[in-house]
């Protein structure tokens, strides 16, 4: 099979996902078009060389609906011959889009592709697409549906992770993100977002709270306690995990991922396609995998996805130098570290979504780019990128640096 190489990765800074966030005035299609434009201009290729663009979008309705990727391709002045597809695997959409883009290359279906994602959570709120999984009683009952916050608290309860554990993790995430920005570690990937006048509206992640400490986080009330008790979600979680007496609610806005707007794009292609556009590959995609896992606890998929990807790559966890797991909730990362016995120093080394935010459809592509940059900066060889996913799934991708 043909190798899929990574030639470049760009992302927007993440704007607060509210009406006062800096990116709120930017349409999602413009966010998508801006990263597509940036990656083309940086790599000086003719847009016509790109066969297909896959973007993850988690709420593909309204202005994010109707295959936003194709709209973004046209808005970014790519030639009309470049196709676009919209991918939804909830929170791993961005990474899955990269995997699909890479698969097309590997399978010989395309030479040069772009994987990425876009989400303007301030303009198209989470849950705008409705859907049956939570709403249709027939499936909600069958799957013991609970919202993600309850699942995150369930993980904490089941695996003995305390509020302090989660808060300490969050404080560290903020510190690492602040340090990374200070040391310009994101410099290679960040593309400031411009408004209709061409003026910069945002050049850095604006969700961060570098001064967060145990005390300030300690004052926050658990976010999902009331919902869990009032609506019965705690009872559902206990019905599925009857060894637990009750759910310990440890998560809040400070140790969960932030709601933000943003977009990202990653350029992938064959060796020959790289030569044709005159770019050197930065990394090679070794393996990828997606799995389903128990849907009530929902967010433990990464551990199984990672194991599956490692197996497919013929690797063991000791072959991985660096881990990146989306910080959807602190307990998700802590449980992953516990399950695979990973040192905190080897995972999410530049901080994550707790500090910088989680623009649902784009996150997978953003952290993928972060990992490429970090492999080059640190001189390490291999990394595994993974995300937990709604409905009980996990997606993981293994990359290795090639120069």
């Amino acid at each position: 099979m043909t190798d899929a190489f990574v030639y470049d990765a760009v992302r927007t800074p993440r704007g607060k996902g509210k009406s006062d966030g800096s990116l709120h005035e930017i349409t999602p299609i413009s966010l998508g078009a801006q990263v597509l434009t940036a990656i083309r201009e940086r790599n000086e290729f003719d847009g016509g060389d790109v066969d297909d663009v896959a973007f993850g979008v988690v709420s593909p309705v309204g202005e994010q609906g109707a295959v936003i990727t194709r709209g973004a391709v046209l808005a970014a002045d790519y030639p009309e011959t470049t196709a676009g597809i919209q991918v939804n695997r909830f929170c791993a959409s961005g990474l899955e889009a990269i995997n699909i883009a890479a698969s097309k290359v590997k399978a010989g279906e395309a030479d040069l592709t772009i994987g990425g994602g876009v989400e303007s959570m301030s303009r198209v709120p989470m849950g705008s697409d409705g859907g049956a999984m939570a709403t249709d009683p027939a499936i909600a009952f069958k799957n013991y549906f609970v919202p993600q916050g309850i699942s995150a608290d369930l993980i904490a309860t089941k695996y003995g992770l305390t509020r302090d554990d989660c808060d300490a993790y969050a404080v560290e995430s903020q510190k690492r993100a602040a340090k990374s920005w200070k040391e310009n570690r994101f410099e290679k990937s960040i593309v400031p977002v411009k408004d209709v006048l061409g003026l910069d509206v945002l050049a850095t992640d604006e969700h961060m709270r570098p001064d967060a400490d145990m005390q300030s986080l300690g004052s926050l009330n658990p976010a999902f306690a009331m919902m869990g008790e009032q609506f019965g979600f705690d009872s559902i979680a206990v019905q599925r995990y009857p060894e637990l007496e009750k759910i310990n609610h440890v998560h809040h806005a400070g140790n969960s991922s932030g709601i933000v707007d943003g977009a990202a794009a990653v350029l992938i292609g064959t060796k020959e396609a790289g030569e044709r556009i005159g770019r050197k590959p930065r990394a090679r995609i070794k393996a990828a995998a997606s799995v389903g896992s128990e849907p009530t606890i929902m967010l433990t998929g990464p551990e199984f996805a990672a194991e599956k990807a490692l197996k497919r790559a013929g690797m063991t966890k000791n072959d991985i130098d660096m881990w990146e797991l989306n910080e959807a909730f602190a307990s998700v990362v802590l449980r992953f570290m516990q399950a695979l016995d990973i040192d905190h120093g080897d995972i999410n080394v530049n901080g994550g979504a707790i500090a910088m935010g989680h623009p649902l459809g784009a996150t997978g592509a953003m952290i993928f780019g972060t990992v490429i940059d970090e492999l080059e900066r640190s001189g390490k060889e291999t990394a595994l990128v993974t995300l937990c996913i709604g409905g009980g799934m996990g997606t993981a991708t293994i990359v290795e640096r090639v120069n």
Binding site: G130, A134, A138, F141, F145, V146, F231, S235, P242, E243
Partner: protein, 729 residues
């Protein structure tokens, strides 16, 4: 046209007054005759140009229609699912025809066609199918009679409203109101119904028919709101409206919390609301009928109908009452002993309309016993559940006293003094010295054999046991225990009394623990054995709750106290001597009570801690003495063990004739100790899985956990013959 279940009277305006009046019944129910007549009338109504409109009403003072004939539903035997669906859809088809005038909905939408108006005039209960008939009318008018109640009780027997109720109600009152009404099954009064929009008007009873006709006359061409273009659900809908999304997520979650996945009717009601609110009405009622058919085709609804409705009603109506004994008039009852049980008995007796002489050794105690009723009444008045006058009248019926002479004109004695043969003997003697010679003497003992106590009586044929459960005002079951010498009149009187206090009686044999107290201890012991083996207490409690028990066995043990459990065990040991069969929890109770001081809820905690002002939580110290096992059973295994410990004891009771029929065994289980109601009771459960499957499973459990799980020989024999408990009984 000749009808059986209704009569039609067309007035000079051409308005047909349709009076539903089932012959030979005190209450109208939806049965085959009414279905047939209604369909025939509607055909005639639509085709007959001289009839301009109709008013539906009832010829019964008891109300409009009290629901479906559950005997008909429970016994329905369609050969195929398709046929069952067609049967179920008949009602929807008929009602739809009435509301559309037989016109296709497209013609109604375009305004090209209309229906003739039909109004429902409600002067009492309109429940289940009766309410659905009313909802299919174009207008609903209720009298100001406080007896007017509308609602959907179907869920209480494992069914859903299958006559368009899950579709018309939400289209009139919104999804949330509909979910409440249909999943909780509680009826509502006319004012509430009007507030929600499911009743249009409330008028004085005398004007009911006239007002209904007035509306029909004024509205010669009608179309239901959902058959008009641009119809929208009140408060948002269908299911993809963002407001409905939140509602459905929460409704499903709350329903799962309440039902623990044991009651598919609740889930399917929500499915009817969800799916039905996305599609046009004609599709929606087909979906409803399909879910209804599904419920009817499964054993749960049939079991629930049989136990919770048919057999419960039969028991309450005195099925076991000796027929030849004339009805006993009970105006005044003497309650002996004003402790917790006596106080509760006094309350339910006074509530049942009888005078109560509440006697205790000490006037203070007697007064305290009455104070119990005062507290309940006060709460009831505060919550608006009982009027102040009624509450005061109830209390006035209770006379606390220490004077045995006050018993001289009572019609029945219920004794609830300390459980000591000597004390009881003394009280029996003193009482019989003053009461009339015909008066029946009932003892509320829970541990002493009635035959033995009756030996203290001068009139053992008038001596019987009536065993209440604590708290008396809340627990719906009583066990009636005839002793060896008890005569027919004592049984008849006891049943007459129970009927007055509106509880459910079962008649049981005079043996240690009677029925319920024979079954509950082995079940609680099983839970303790599981703790002893190192099974996580949370898993045990959750397994019981998910089985459908109202509380976990460890929480229940805390309530009754471990100390009491230990005392009973010790006295049984003493009494039986060598014949005592160890249960395996002897040393466990000793450790918990003597070594660890975990006596129960009232003594600072048992399996749980009870921090002040907080929810109780499992005491984690237990694992220090009974270390958590590395291998924990699956939820299914834990549930099975707790279930079969109850099935085994209940089966033994039935085999030994302690309860003489499966009906009583089922009623006693559900209403006595809260055995999972969705099963219809332990005997229904065994029949449902098959006696042979029960026997096999029991034997397998006996191999794994001990002899106590073995099925009685009688059950083995039934399994071999392929019999079922209910058919054989």
């Amino acid at each position: 046209m000749a009808y059986e279940a209704l009569s039609v009277d067309v007035d000079s305006d051409g308005i047909a007054l349709v009076t539903i009046d089932l012959p030979g019944q005190s209450m109208n129910v939806f049965n085959e005759a009414l279905m047939r007549d209604l369909a025939a009338f509607i055909d005639d109504f639509i085709s007959n140009d001289s009839i301009k409109g109709a008013v539906l009403t009832s010829g019964k003072s008891s109300g409009f229609i009290a629901g479906a004939d559950l005997r008909m539903l429970g016994g329905s035997q369609a050969a195929t699912l398709q046929e069952a669906f067609e049967n179920a859809f008949n009602l929807n088809r008929t009602l739809r025809k009435m509301e559309t005038g037989g016109n296709p909905s497209k013609a109604l939408m375009k305004g090209e066609a209309h229906a003739k108006p039909v109004a429902a005039a409600l002067d009492g209960l309109a429940l289940g199918g009766g309410f659905e008939l009313a909802l299919a009318c174009h207008y609903r008018i209720a009298s100001d009679n406080p007896k007017v109640q509308v609602g959907f009780p179907e869920v209480q027997v494992g069914l859903l409203p299958g006559g368009g109720g899950t579709q018309r109600f939400p289209r009139l009152a919104g999804l949330q109101n509909a979910a409440m009404a249909a999943t909780q099954g509680k009826p509502m009064d006319a004012a509430t119904a009007k507030g929600q929009g499911v009743i249009n008007d409330i008028v004085p009873a005398a004007d009911l028919i006239a007002k209904a006709k007035e509306w029909v006359k004024a509205n010669p061409k009608v179309t239901q709101p959902w058959d008009k273009k641009g119809f929208k659900f009140p408060g948002g809908g269908g299911a993809m409206d963002p407001r409905s999304v939140q509602f459905f997520i929460a409704a499903s979650a709350m329903a799962q919390r309440e039902t623990k996945h044991n009651y598919p009717a609740v889930e399917r009601i929500l499915s009817c609301l969800y799916e039905g609110s996305i599609v046009p009405f004609d599709t929606a009622i087909r979906i409803e009928s399909k879910y209804f058919t599904k419920l009817l085709s499964e054993p749960q609804a049939r079991n629930m109908i049989r136990t919770l409705f048919i057999n419960k009603q039969a028991a309450e109506k005195g099925e076991r009452r000796p027929k030849d004994v004339p009805q006993q008039e009970l105006k005044k009852v003497g309650v002996l002993g004003a402790g917790m049980m006596g106080a509760g008995i006094a309350y339910v007796t006074a509530k049942g309309g009888m005078e109560v002489v509440l006697l205790d050794r000490d006037q203070d105690y007697a007064e305290k016993g009455k104070a119990y009723s005062e507290k309940i009444v006060q709460k009831g008045v505060q919550r608006g559940k009982v009027s102040k006058e009624k509450g005061e009248a109830l209390l006035a019926r209770i006379t606390p006293t220490t004077d045995y002479n006050a018993l001289k004109d009572v019609d029945l004695i219920i004794e609830a003094v300390f459980e000591d043969p000597g004390v009881k003997a003394d009280v029996i003697k003193k009482t019989e010295a003053v009461i009339g010679p015909e008066v029946i003497f009932a003892s509320n003992t829970s541990t002493l054999p009635i035959t033995g106590l009756a030996k203290n009586s001068e009139r053992p044929e008038q001596f019987i046991g009536i065993h209440f459960f604590s708290p008396v005002d809340k627990m719906p079951l009583v066990e009636i225990i005839p002793g060896d010498a008890s005569g027919e009149r004592s049984l008849a009187t006891a049943l007459d009394y129970v009927r007055l206090i509106k509880k459910t009686p079962i008649v049981v044999k005079d043996t240690r623990g009677f029925y319920t107290n024979r079954v509950v201890p082995p079940y609680l012991n099983e839970a303790m054995l599981m703790v002893k083996e190192g099974i996580k207490p949370a898993l045990i409690e959750n397994a019981a709750l998910q089985l459908g028990m109202p509380v976990g066995p460890l929480a229940l043990t805390d309530e009754t106290s471990l100390e009491l459990g230990k005392r009973i065990m010790e006295s049984t040991q003493k009494e039986l001597g060598d014949a005592y069969q160890p249960t395996g929890v002897e040393d466990f109770l000793e450790t918990m009570v003597d070594k660890l001081g975990r006596l129960g809820r009232k003594s600072g905690g048992g399996f749980y801690d009870y921090p002040e002002g907080e929810k109780k939580r499992l005491w984690n110290g237990v694992s220090e003495y009974f270390p958590e096992a590395d291998d924990q059973p699956s939820l299914e295994d834990a549930k099975e063990r707790l279930l079969y410990s109850q099935l085994a004891a209940a089966a033994a009771c039935y085999a030994e004739g302690i309860v003489s029929d499966p009906q009583s065994a089922d009623l006693g289980a559900i209403f006595g100790w809260g055995f999972a109601p969705w099963t219809g009771g332990p005997m229904s459960y065994i029949d449902t899985i098959g006696v042979d499957a029960y026997v096999r499973q029991s034997e397998s459990l006996a191999q794994r956990y001990g002899e106590r799980f073995n099925p009685p020989d009688a059950f083995r024999a039934m399994a071999q013959k392929g019999e079922t408990l209910y058919a054989a009984a």
